[in-house]
Each structure stands twice: as C-alpha cells, then as structure tokens.
C-alpha cells in the first residue's frame, strides 16, 4: 500500500445544459402534465405538481471538516444540515441530509453549473460534487389527503410529532424508492428516479384517485 498524499486535484466541470436548440425534457415529459392541468379537475383532496428540470447536485464531504462546512455555506448561502434527517433552504436552494457525509442540493436548473463550479473553486480537500439533474425529478404532493397517499406508499411514520416540516428521509416508496421531505404541513416533496418516474406517476394517480387528484402545471 502506498502512502496517501494530498495533492492538488484538477476537476473539469462540464455544463450539462444543452443550448436552446434542444428542448429540455423532464422524466415526466411524456405525461404532459400541462395539458392534464388544463383539462382535468380543479378541486380535489390531493394536488400533484412536478418541480421539473431543477438542478440536482449530490455533495459528499466530511461533516467534521470546518473549512469544508464553511465553503459549502459560502456557495449555497445556507449552512449544511448536519443533523440527521433534516433539511435547510434559502430562497430557491434546498439542501437535504441524505447520509452523514452526503447531501442532495437542488437549485434552479440554470444555476446548477454555476453552483457546481463554485464548489470546485471554494472547497478544498477530499470532496465530491456530482450533477445528477438528468437522473431524477421532484413531485410535490399537497392538500389535506396528501399524507394518506404517502401512508399508502411507504412504511415511514409521517405523524407530525415524528415527521415535522423540514424532515427528510430516504425510504422505500411503492416498491421503488424516494427521498421524502415534508415541505409544509400538508405538503410532501418526493425526489424520484428517472427510470421509476412513469411507474410512480401511474402509482400516484391510482393511490390518490379516491381523494380526487388535481394536477398543477
């Protein structure tokens, strides 16, 4: 085994956004939620809205490294949540605790490259930022009955005493998985994988049918 040396590492960051000649398509593009929103029901117990085409960045770093924590706060404008299962947000930036050394950051799609570049500039040492925007999307469920749809789909305890606003867990969800965050008293945000998005879209329609599903564009 060789000695581990800390050397300056050059990381090239590629802007993954195509130019205007290529249309950006979210994982739920084919569902055409905009058309359903126009023609579908306007009132119901559950409202579903896709937060499409956000910039998703995964950050891996040492939560005990004060310099890295400071750098992350400088880039994001908000301190990393180091308490397990919590999230932090400021403006259009949301940071979710995923694991003791991993966070999922979402920013507006057009800002992802800028934030990624800023991490490479500000942060030193052993860390990793990866743009995973193409691999997942966010679905927001809100309304009085949104919690029942979550209860049908996942074994997590979402009673407000156990699952307050801001809490985030990664769990199984309808035989797939999701990063579930309570973004409001009656509002849940699911980060879902691209390859499971159609299945979950069908599942969510079915699971919320009895409460009345409203699609928001």
């Amino acid at each position: 085994m060789s000695d581990v040396k800390t050397e300056a590492v050059t990381v090239s960051v590629i802007n993954q956004l195509p130019d205007a000649s290529i249309q950006g398509q979210s994982p739920l593009f084919h569902a055409d939620l905009a058309t359903i929103a126009k023609s579908g029901p306007k009132t119901g117990g559950v409202t579903l809205k896709e937060e499409a085409l956000l910039g998703h960045l995964t950050l891996r770093m040492n939560p005990e490294n004060a310099d890295q924590l400071k750098a992350a706060e400088k880039v994001l404008g908000v301190a990393l949540p180091t308490q397990p299962l919590t999230s932090a947000s400021k403006g259009d930036v949301v940071v979710r605790w995923i694991s003791p050394d991993e966070w999922l950051i979402t920013v507006p799609g057009l800002k992802a490259f800028e934030v990624e570049t800023a991490f490479q500039k500000e942060m030193k040492g052993h860390f990793q930022v990866v743009n995973v925007s193409g691999g997942q999307t966010i679905v927001k469920l809100s309304g009085k009955y949104a919690q029942y749809v979550i209860k049908k789909s996942s074994p997590i305890d979402i009673h407000p005493s156990e699952f307050p606003v801001g809490k985030v867990v990664t769990s199984v969800f309808a035989k797939s998985s999701a990063i579930i965050r309570r973004s409001g008293e009656n509002e849940f945000e699911l980060v879902i994988r691209r390859s499971f998005s159609d299945y979950l879209w069908l599942w969510l329609q079915d699971a919320s049918r009895e409460y009345g599903l409203v699609i928001e564009a």
Binding site: P84, I98, P155, V169, S171
Partner: protein, 93 residues
C-alpha cells in the same frame, strides 16, 4: 412491523429498508500472500451459524446506505444492540 434502529439516521425504521450482510467483525488478513490455504479459506468461506446471539453486519440499504453492526438473537430475532463500525459489542454470548 419489525423496526430496526439505524445509528446513522438516529431512529427506528422498518425492516424492509435494511439488508443483512452476514457475520460482523471479519478482519481481512493483512498479508493475503502469506496465508496458508486453510487461513485464507477460513477467512473467505467459513462463517459462524449460532442459535442465539450473533454479531451481524447490516446496511440501511434504502435509507442512508451506511453499514452498522447488530447483535441479534437468531432464535428469537430479538435485536440486543446496534453499534457503529469500528465499535465492539457490549452484549456477548
């Protein structure tokens, strides 16, 4: 519901989120080249299979994806303790 405590998430979660990865505290020989076939074979293939207390490696596969150790009674399924990698069990047979 069978709940398991994840020491990284700091809460009990449903068993469905976890996977058992077998016997814990198996140290890889520091110098595999100097092992006899028997030593290497024991490291690679031979595992305890107790009825009763067993120290196991578990992973919070659908959650934080971190590994940790569990002391479990294989006859009753009762979990006696959960402890992080690098720590030693307090409950021993």
């Amino acid at each position: 519901m069978f709940l398991i405590y994840c020491p990284h998430c700091g809460e009990y979660r449903e068993e469905e989120e976890f996977q058992n990865r077998g016997q814990a505290h198996i140290a890889r020989p520091l110098d595999p080249d100097s092992c006899t076939d028997e030593e290497w074979g024991n490291y690679m293939f031979f595992r305890k299979n107790p009825k009763g207390l067993h120290h196991e490696l578990w992973v919070h596969a659908a959650g934080c994806r971190k590994f940790f150790n569990v002391t479990r009674n294989t006859a009753t399924y009762e979990i006696k303790e959960v402890y992080k990698i690098g720590e030693q069990p307090k409950v021993v047979a």
